[in-house]
Amino acid sequence: MSGISKIKDRLKAFLIELGDLSYFTGRFFREVFKRPFEIKELLGQCYNMGNRSLLLVGITCFIIGLVLDLQTRPTLMEFGAVSWMPSMVSISIVREIGPIITALVCAGRIGSGIGAELGSMRVTEQIDAMEVSGTNPFKYLVVTRVLAVTLMLPLLVIIGDAIALFGSFLVENLKGNVSFTLYFNQVFDSIEFGDIIPAIIKSSFFGLAIGIVGCYKGYYCAKGTEGVGKAANSAVVVSSLLLFIIDFIAVFVTDIFYDL
C-alpha cells in the first residue's frame, strides 16, 4: 500500500511540475512580445552564451568528427565504400550528431549556468529587489535568457557542424590522402537544404527547451545553497531528457515530410 501511495505521490508531483513548467512556458510566450524589450540584456546574454560556449562546442564537435570518421572508416573499407565517407559523415553530422551533441554540451554549460545564476539570485533576494525596483524580473531575466539560447544554439550548431566536418576531413586527409577540395565537394554534393533546415529548426527548439528548463529551475529555486545546487543539477538532467524527446519528435515529423 505504501509503495502504491509513493508512486501516486511521485506521479502527482511530476504532473504538478509539468503543469508549472507548461504555465512558465506559456508566460514566456505571452511576455516575449510585450514592451519593454530588454535589447541590451538580450545582446549581452547572446554574447555570454554564444561566445563563451564556442570553445567547448568547437572542441567537442572536432573530436566527434575525428572519432566518427575513425570508427566508420574500417567498416566502409570492408565494403570498398570508403569514398562514401564524406557523404555519410556529413549527413550524420548535419542531420543528427551536430545538433544533439551541441545541444547536450549547451545543456551542461548554459542550462546549468542559468539554473545556478537565477537560483542564486532568487536565494539572495536579487529577483525580489528587481521587482521592487519596478522591473519585471521575468521579462528582464527569463525572456532574455530563453531568447538568447534559442537564437544562439542554431549558430553554435552550424559552427559545430563545420568543425566536426573539418575533424573528419583531417582523418580522411591523413589516412586516405583526400584533398580539402575533394572532401568538401563531396560533402556539399550530398547535403541538401532538406538536411540543413530541419536541423536548424530542431536546434532552435533545443535552445528553447534548455532556456525554459534552466530558467524555470532557477526562478523557482528553493531557499538555501542546496536549492541552488539542485536547480543547476536538475536543469541539466531535465533539459537533456527533453532534448532527446524533442529530437525524436523532430525526426518523426521530418520523416513525414520526406515521405510526402
Binding site: 539570485m121 529587489a129 521587482e131 525596483s133
Partner: protein
C-alpha cells in the same frame, strides 16, 4: 509639543487593515493592523517566523495577501494594476536583509538600474552620474563606485544597498533586518546612517529588526507582532516597562 507628538498628528502614509495570509494550514498573519505616519520611524519586532517578512513582502506586492487592505500613500496596492504598482514602487525604498545587490553589476550599475526603470520620475536633464554619486556620497562610499559587489565587505554592501534604495528619493523606506549579520560597530554605523537619511530626506521608515539596540535608538514607535497580530504598539520606553509576559520576553536582556 515634542517631535514624537508631532508625528502622531501627521499624515498616515502607509496603513494595513485586517491583513490575513496563510500558507496551507499555517496561518501567518491573522488580522494584522498598522499605520505609519509621515516622518516616523516605526520598528516592528517579532519572533522568527512570526510573519514580519511576509507582511513586508505583502506591503510591496511581492506576495499577495489573502484578505485585508494595504494603503500606501492613499493607493490600495491590492487593487492596483501592475503598471500602477511599479510607478508607486518608485516611492517605496526596500533595504533587503542580505543587501540583494546584483552580483553581475558594478556598484554604479546597481545604482543606475532603478534610475533607468523610473526615468520618468526625474527631469530629462537629470544627470545620472550626479545622482549616483550623490547617493553614494550620502553613505560614504563614493570611492567604491566601480567595484563589484564581491569586492565589498558586508557593511559596505549594506551601505551600497541603502544608496540604491535612496537613489529614487523614496517617501517610505522599508528596512528588513538592516543590522543583521553585521558586527556591532558596523551595525551602529548603519543605524546612524539610517537616522541621518531620515533627517535629511524626511522619509517615513518601517524597520523590521531583532536588534533591540537598533530599536531603542531609532524607533519613534514600536509594534510587537505576536501570533500573527499587532499585539502591542507604543514607544520603546512604554513597551519596555510593560508587565505583560509576552512583551517582557522581548526586553529581558
Amino acid at each position: 509639543m515634542n517631535d514624537k507628538q508631532n508625528i502622531s498628528h501627521s499624515e498616515i502614509v502607509l496603513q494595513i487593515k485586517d491583513l490575513h495570509k496563510s500558507f496551507g494550514d499555517n496561518h501567518v498573519l491573522k488580522g494584522f493592523n498598522m499605520s505609519l505616519y509621515q516622518g516616523e520611524n516605526l520598528v516592528i519586532i517579532g519572533k522568527s517566523g512570526s510573519g514580519k517578512s511576509v507582511m513586508i513582502k505583502c506591503l510591496v506586492g511581492l506576495m499577495e495577501a489573502d484578505s485585508g487592505s494595504i494603503t500606501v500613500m492613499k493607493n490600495d496596492i491590492t487593487k492596483l494594476t501592475q503598471e500602477a504598482l511599479d510607478i508607486l514602487r518608485a516611492d517605496i525604498g526596500f533595504l533587503f536583509q542580505g543587501s540583494a545587490l546584483y552580483d553581475s553589476m558594478t556598484v554604479r550599475e546597481n545604482l543606475e538600474f532603478p534610475l533607468r526603470r523610473h526615468s520618468k520620475k526625474f527631469s530629462k536633464n537629470a544627470d545620472t552620474e550626479a545622482l549616483v554619486l550623490e547617493a553614494l556620497t550620502s553613505v560614504g562610499l563614493a570611492h567604491a563606485i566601480d567595484l563589484m559587489p564581491s569586492e565589498l565587505s558586508g557593511g559596505m554592501k549594506r551601505r551600497v544597498a541603502l544608496a540604491r534604495t535612496l537613489i529614487l528619493q523614496p517617501k517610505i523606506i522599508l528596512y528588513d533586518e538592516p543590522t543583521s549579520g553585521l558586527d556591532p560597530i558596523t551595525a551602529k554605523e548603519i543605524i546612524i546612517l539610517m537616522q541621518d537619511i531620515q533627517k535629511k530626506y524626511n522619509t517615513s521608515s518601517l524597520i523590521i529588526t531583532h536588534d533591540m539596540d537598533c530599536a531603542r535608538v531609532i524607533s519613534d514607535r514600536m509594534l510587537l507582532l505576536i501570533d500573527g497580530i499587532d499585539y502591542a504598539v507604543g514607544s520603546f520606553a512604554t513597551l519596555s516597562a510593560s508587565k505583560d509576559p509576552k512583551i517582557r520576553a522581548f526586553f529581558k536582556n
